[in-house]
């Protein structure tokens, strides 16, 4: 039973709950291994063949049997019946129990031909479940438990005021709040030791993920009850598929699973990744970490700390595929939910450095069938130029490639609607002395995928971001770093948008403006586009935030008249020690925070409106993390959205009224509270003063104490106080030199 906050005894019970209780599962999956037999599997459902064909069949079987583990012909025993025909089953011995387990998992229920489907089980399982007496002679229909209403997992979307939620992790406590525009956030739930390292929302906001040494737990519903748990000893990171159906967990250390684990099998032993089905909470497949090749020791002989690529398993937009790059070799694409390798082979792309799925279903012109796209790049190899390619899945057809020269690095940036992919190419001159950046923008939706090049950038681009759902972008360039300087090089922020074009076409990308001499390093677009925050994070000296509007409604400068943007700096703010910036999912607020994970100075958060107006600042000791609860995609159709936009004035009038009513009732409450406080205070003072006067009177003392009397100015004497002040002023200074 997952604890709701009310049920928790703050001291004891919750402590117990920290140890994830797997006893129910353990009971269900309890295994009692019989020594030595766990390397055996039983294959049933084979065709019945005469002795002459037996060898042929075994050979045929071995082909699939050896794919998952090591075995040989002698280890396959196929009993023959009295009539000289095989019985239709076989025993196979593998080298290790892990291989046997893998075979069961991989081969069970695989078809041999049209008539025969293999049923593969562990011998020990057959023994355990199928032994005499274990199977009831009469058929008992399984009991189907009565339907139980589950909590509504998307209840928070029904908030009458359309508020957003956020989770805040500080000290040992994790709390979820309703965000309020004015006034303090309203707490919803707060639990101590809810997580051991951090918290994370699922991509559509359904679940809150907590991390524990034993595994991962998902929480949700109005009572914040536990929805699912995934056992993964020593788990470090998690990643959801975009549709929240699957989950990847990763631990730095390979898992150590012993036989008899209730959830995980020997197959998972020694693995780092598990991909789970969230609905059933069962593992689909596990993997080991692929280390990027390269030197493991640095020149001084210390082990190199390699950054892991996260996420290594990248989901396609519809979560039909998940793919992992095999550095320099290719990409393994797995199909879901079977987690089988697509076409039983990895896609070979020699030299591949990086790849990125398109973030939403692509709509290429002239392409009717289903497809997903990914973009990849390979560096120069020998006399072959560097290449950027777009590959279509499942056809594995290369849609577009482009050759590039003098490439030192490249980064792939998809636009959120998969309309463009921008490849940021860092190039060096032939002498490798100077560096510059090119942007190669693939127009994915247009016929033939034309590529536009923006190459007038003289410095290296350190950050780039597309406008979500839009076609404009911002980039930050940095000058040459001065060797030995304490501060990094100054940066410039450049803004780009397409030119105006006829019809629905998107014109050529044009530079709007560059803002020089900044220290900015972060670009955060509003989730709905138009507004962008350019900021300096994780910097000792500067910590500024600039709020820009791309569609300023004021006058447009003459030189910008052909552009599809009217850029305007709306506001500038400072947040000392800034480490993180996050837009709320509705694009109304920006939360900036200074986390104790990065430094210990002025930890806490600021909340700004989209236009950069500071709404709230709260210093919080031991502040760790802030995360807005994401929202699922809008359910309104294009028509309906258009309607809303058309009647915006009417809607905003309603909302303003509601805001006003709320504010005035809040104001009223504050005033009421103040009035009460003032009355209480005055009454208390009156009583204390009366008591004091009485006591003084009883003691025969004057009404005022000696020190209070010191303040009384005699009225009768008309001698006024004279304060004499002497001012000295230097009129002249002269210097004489005496010899």
């Amino acid at each position: 039973m997952a604890p709701s906050f009310e049920q928790l005894d703050p001291e004891t019970e919750y402590e117990d709950d920290e140890e994830i209780d797997f006893s129910d599962l353990r009971e269900q999956f309890e295994t009692n291994m019989e020594e030595g037999l766990d390397t055996f599997i039983v294959i049933d459902g084979l065709p019945k063949v005469p002795a002459a064909n037996k060898e042929k069949l075994v050979k045929f079987l071995l082909r699939s049997l050896t794919k998952v583990g090591k075995t040989k012909e002698e280890n396959v025993y196929m009993p023959m019946g009295d009539d000289g025909v095989s019985e239709g089953f076989a025993f196979v011995e593998y080298e290790t129990p892990a291989q046997a387990a893998a075979a069961v998992k991989a081969l069970h229920a695989t078809p041999l031909d049209k008539k025969h489907t293999m049923a593969v089980n562990k011998l020990t399982d057959i023994e355990r479940y199928g032994r005499e007496g274990r199977i009831d002679e009469n058929y008992n229909p399984p009991e189907i438990p009565a339907f139980e209403e589950k909590e509504h997992l998307r209840w928070w979307l029904g908030d009458a005021e359309g508020r957003d939620q956020f989770v805040m992790y500080r000290g040992d406590n994790v709390g979820v709040y309703w965000n309020e525009r004015d006034g303090q956030p309203e707490p919803i739930v707060d639990r101590q030791h809810w997580t051991e390292s951090f918290v994370q929302w699922s991509p559509k906001g359904t679940y809150l993920t907590s991390m524990h040494n034993q595994g991962v737990q998902l929480w949700g519903g109005q009572n914040w009850s536990r929805q699912k748990r995934f056992m993964h000893p020593g788990v470090n990171l998690v990643d959801f598929s975009p549709d929240e159906r699957f989950l990847t967990t990763w631990s730095h250390k390979p898992m150590e699973i012993s036989e008899g684990n209730p959830v995980l099998s020997l197959e998972e032993d020694g693995k780092n990744y598990i991909i789970w089905d969230i609905a059933t909470a069962k593992p689909l497949r596990s993997f080991v970490t692929l280390d990027a090749p390269g030197p493991t020791l640095d020149p001084e002989g210390n082990p190199v700390k390699k950054k892991i690529q996260w996420p290594a398993f990248k989901w396609s937009a519809d979560a039909k595929y998940v793919a992992r790059m095999n550095y320099k070799q290719g990409i393994s694409v797995y199909e879901l939910p079977s987690m089988r390798l697509m076409d039983k082979a990895s896609v070979k792309i020699e030299g591949i450095e990086d790849f990125e799925w398109c973030p939403s279903n692509p709509q290429r012109e002239g392409k009717r069938d289903y497809e997903q796209l990914f973009c990849y790049w390979t560096p120069e190899m020998g006399s072959n130029p560097a290449k950027v390619g777009l590959m279509s899945i499942p056809s594995k057809e290369i849609v577009r490639t482009r050759n590039l020269f003098n490439v030192s690095d490249a980064k792939l940036h998809w636009q959120s609607e998969s309309a463009f992919v921008c490849v940021k190419v860092d190039r060096h001159s032939k002498s490798k002395k100077s560096h510059a950046t090119n942007l190669e923008i693939f127009r994915v939706k247009e016929k033939g995928v034309p590529v536009e090049v923006v190459d007038d950038i003289k410095e290296t681009v350190v950050n780039f971001a597309w406008e979500p759902k839009g076609d404009r972008f911002v980039l930050i360039t940095a000058g040459e770093a001065v060797a030995g300087a304490a501060v990094g090089p100054k940066t410039s922020v450049a803004f780009f948008c397409p030119e105006k074009a006829k019809g629905n076409a998107v014109g050529n990308f044009k530079h709007i403006r560059t803002v020089d001499k900044k220290n900015n390093n972060a670009i955060h677009w509003s989730p709905n586009g138009r507004f962008v925050v350019v900021a300096t994070v994780l910097n000792q000296q500067s910590f500024d935030l600039d709020f820009y509007d791309f569609d300023f409604e004021g006058e447009k400068e003459e030189k910008d008249k052909d552009l599809t943007a009217n850029l305007q700096l709306m506001a500038t703010a400072d947040h000392y020690g800034l480490t993180d910036i996050e837009w709320d999912p509705s694009g109304r607020f920006v939360a900036t925070s200074a986390s104790v994970w990065k430094h210990r100075m002025e930890n806490g958060y600021h909340l700004y409106s989209f236009s950069g107006q500071l709404l709230r600042e709260e210093p919080i000791e031991q502040f760790k993390q802030w995360a807005w609860r994401p929202r699922p995609e809008r359910l309104l159709s294009k028509e309906e959205m258009k309607n809303v936009r058309k009647n915006l004035r009417e809607y905003s009038r309603q909302f303003e009224e509601a805001d006003l009513a709320k504010r005035s009732s809040a104001d009223k409450a504050v005033i009421e509270a103040r009035r009460r406080q003032l009355d209480e205070w005055l009454a208390w003072r009156e009583r204390v003063q009366a008591d004091l006067a009485e006591e003084r009177h009883d003691l025969g003392l004057p009404d005022l104490s000696d020190e209070q009397r010191a303040l009384v100015v005699d009225d009768d004497g008309d001698e006024s106080k004279v304060v004499e002040e002497i001012f000295e002023e230097i009129l002249e200074e002269s210097e004489e030199v005496i010899e």
């Binding site: 000392y576 210990r600 100075m601 002025e602 210093p619 005033i671 103040r674 009035r675 406080q677 003032l678 205070w681 005055l682 208390w684 204390v688 003063q689 004091l692 006591e695 003084r696 003691l699 003392l701 104490s705 000696d706 020190e707 209070q708 009397r709 010191a710 303040l711 304060v723 002040e725």
Partner: protein, 337 residues
């Protein structure tokens, strides 16, 4: 108005006090010297020199005739304000952390520090108010604080009825000022957070305590009930109550120098904070010091306040008209009634 900067001390200020008429400011610092200043213009009136160690505390009697001081040289000294003459020296085994006159000036209390086998005590003397007269050698009352953690601050209540003390562990005790009997013991502050200051309202019926737990509390002297709580984001060293008719409290503090990782002034929160006494809301801040504020004091006439900082300066701020005019809507409403 421009603040007046009193630059006379060479080391950190420890306490600043106004005379009861508000015309003089007495300041003590770790540099062994007591200074007296005119509050109106910041001109120095005089200095009192004889202490052999850092000074922790100073107080002046209601008629501004006598001045008492105490410090790390383990003495309480009594001075004539006008002439600077040293009238009396009492010696102890440990440093004196606090001295205070009763509201009638007839009694003086001192707090001795607990150190090296010496218990923390509160000692009371009956003072001869004539500067020419003889001062007693022996205390009239001595409270040994044994079962409660050491005393950090103490003072006399209205009518010299109680002695109230603040302790190292965040607690506050009420003693009978005649017999020294412990009457009440409460924990208004977070347990374990040192009470750093205790200052009175003008009629001494209630007081404010400041603590390292980042809060200041307004407490009833008779019942020790907490009346108001002022929450800040920095450890507090001092808190003062402005005299009526204004209803403010002034809080001072800041990250201790040893806890500050950078030297930037914004880091340390070295500001005097004004809170509304009744509504517990912050109404303003005054910047200027570049070290923690060790003490804030309000002119008993309510015209100005001063603060003494770890940076060695005393800043005297005279209030501008808006300070006196500012009222919450409900206060105006109350006045109209």
């Amino acid at each position: 108005m421009r603040p007046i900067l009193l630059q006379g001390h060479e080391r950190a200020l420890t306490q600043v006090k106004f005379s009861k008429e508000g015309d003089l400011i007495f300041s003590v610092s770790k540099d062994h010297i007591i200074c007296a200043w005119y509050s109106a213009n910041g001109e120095r009136f005089g200095a009192y020199k004889a202490h052999q160690g850092a000074l922790w505390t100073v107080d002046v009697d209601p008629t501004t005739t006598l001045l008492a001081s105490g410090g790390a040289d383990n003495t309480i000294r009594l001075w004539e304000v006008k002439t600077g003459k040293l009238l009396k020296t009492w010696e102890y085994g440990t440093a004196i952390k606090r001295v205070e006159f009763s509201e009638d000036g007839r009694q003086l209390l001192g707090v001795t520090e607990k150190r090296a086998g010496q218990l923390s005590t509160i000692i009371v003397y009956d003072i001869n108010q004539d500067p020419e007269g003889q001062q007693p050698n022996e205390h009239s009352l001595r409270i040994v604080v044994d079962d409660i953690p050491k005393v950090t601050v103490a003072g006399f209540s209205y009518l010299t009825k109680y002695i109230i003390s603040g302790h190292e562990d965040g607690s506050v005790t009420q003693y009978d000022a005649k017999t020294g009997e412990e009457l009440k013991h409460t924990y208004p502050h977070e347990e374990g957070s040192l009470v750093t200051d205790l200052q009175w309202s003008s009629d001494r019926t209630y007081f404010i305590t400041a603590s390292k737990d980042k809060t200041a509390k307004l407490i009833d002297a008779t019942t020790l009930d907490v009346l108001k709580t002022y929450v800040t984001d920095t450890p507090l060293n001092s808190a003062a109550i402005t005299p009526e008719p204004t209803n403010y409290v002034i809080l001072g503090g800041g990250q201790a120098a040893m806890d500050v990782t950078t030297t930037s002034a914004r880091q340390g929160k070295f500001e005097a904070r004004f809170y509304h006494k009744i509504f517990e809301e912050e109404v303003g801040r005054v910047r200027g010091h570049f070290g923690p504020l060790n003490y804030v004091a309000v002119d008993p006439t309510g015209k100005c306040y001063c603060s003494g900082g770890e940076d060695g300066y005393v800043r005297v701020h005279h209030f501008d008209p808006p300070y006196f005019d500012f009222k919450f809507e409900v206060e105006r409403e109350q006045e109209r009634r």
